[in-house]
């Protein structure tokens, strides 16, 4: 028996991030999406590059890093399967704010954010759905970063 080939919108629908996403919108996003692969050590994005893509991770791990002159980069977070890498595509001037480096063999869906921005601009309902998914992500990351800054394991 030949397994049915899944369309990109069906693949996207299996990711936690797009769970219960309206199917019309999934089709629109599927039109901007493609599968991508990174080897360990490869960069998915570099700080200050145009943020015209974001990624939904299927497998592997990525480190979000900030370069420190003369020193080893500082890793601010690692993300893995089902996580989203890249939110800067939503906010002008649409530039990456950190480096994203694959630390394991990485499979992901890359979404053309420039194309998606245009679709969101043309269809505000789609734009609102995207905001409803990205805003909780941003608040969770902010919350986690605050806890990191609190240095809870340090001496009080």
């Amino acid at each position: 028996m030949i397994a049915a080939v899944k369309t990109m919108d069906q693949i996207l629908g299996q990711h936690r991030f797009f769970a219960d996403f309206p199917s019309d919108f999934a089709k629109l996003i599927g039109g901007c999406a493609r599968n991508i692969h990174f080897k360990p050590g490869e960069y998915m994005a570099r700080e200050e590059d145009p943020a015209d893509t974001f990624f939904i991770l299927s497998k592997g791990k990525v480190a979000l890093e900030v370069a420190v002159p003369g020193k080893s980069p500082v890793v601010i977070a690692t993300l893995g399967a089902q996580d989203v890498v890249g939110v800067s595509w939503l906010v002008a001037p649409y530039c990456w704010l950190f480096d994203a480096r694959a630390i394991e063999d990485l499979r992901a869906i890359s979404i053309d954010a420039k194309c998606l921005r245009e679709k969101c601009e043309a269809d505000h309902d789609l734009g609102y759905e995207m905001m409803k998914r990205f805003l909780p992500l941003l608040t969770q990351r902010l919350h986690a970063t605050r806890m990191q800054v609190l240095d809870v394991y340090g001496k009080s």
Binding site: S72, V74, V75, T78, D83, M147, Q148, D151, V152, Y153
Partner: protein, 281 residues
Amino acid sequence: MQASQSTEEDPLLPAPYRVVERVRELDDVTTLHLEPRTGKRTCVNPGQFNMLYAFGIGEVAISISAAGETERGLFHTIRDVGKVSHALSHMKEGAEVGLRGPFGSGWPIDGADGRDIVIVAGGVGLAPLRPAIEAVLAKREQYGRVTILLGFRSPKDILFPQPIHDWREQHDVELHVTVDHADADWRGHVGVVPTLIQRTNFDAKNCLAFVCGPEIMMRFSAQALLGEGVSPARIHLSMERNMKCAVGHCGRCQFGPHFVCKDGPVFPLERITSILSVREV
């Protein structure tokens, strides 16, 4: 069964123990292996604590960080944060300490058969959870999925690296270590430990979660577990409060309507939700 501690007649009277070995785990964390000068044996439940007395300096509550083995005496893992913990951390082999206990409730492992187990530890909070992890792994077949999520400040602050490695290699567990701060040489997770909770697979409706670490870390971990659908009756936290008598007499460890020494230190979240976020309790 473990060696007995304070005299049964008077729980306020410390029994003499000898430091048979002192292991420096981290820059500021030491494990003392203690054996009684004299005394019979008594049971210790994972999650219980003893009061350790550095003679002439003071007495503090320290969890039992390895239990269940009759021959090995008692192990206490101590972080040097102040006067008493500093004195205890620097005790030489052969030195004498006073010991009262064991006190308090343990982790409710007995009621966990058939359930998934989720263990979330931060920093030296792994010490009181280590006996629970070892008890669960010793009877691994009795439980569903076992998930162990460990958070530390940085790679050099990882406590018990060898046991962590053994748990991961020798047992059917999902174990993740994350650190808050790292450079690019670290190949593991970076991020606070609650962020791992939503990335792991366990049956939220049929699990027991045990959480220990700094209070802020426990609060956020509890929120993440609740967010995944775990009921507050199934989330257990080990609370720390300064102690004096450790037997429910002096009120020093009062936490809302509870005494941590007697009613805790392990509490189900549902019993302490209303006081967990109160600033002064």
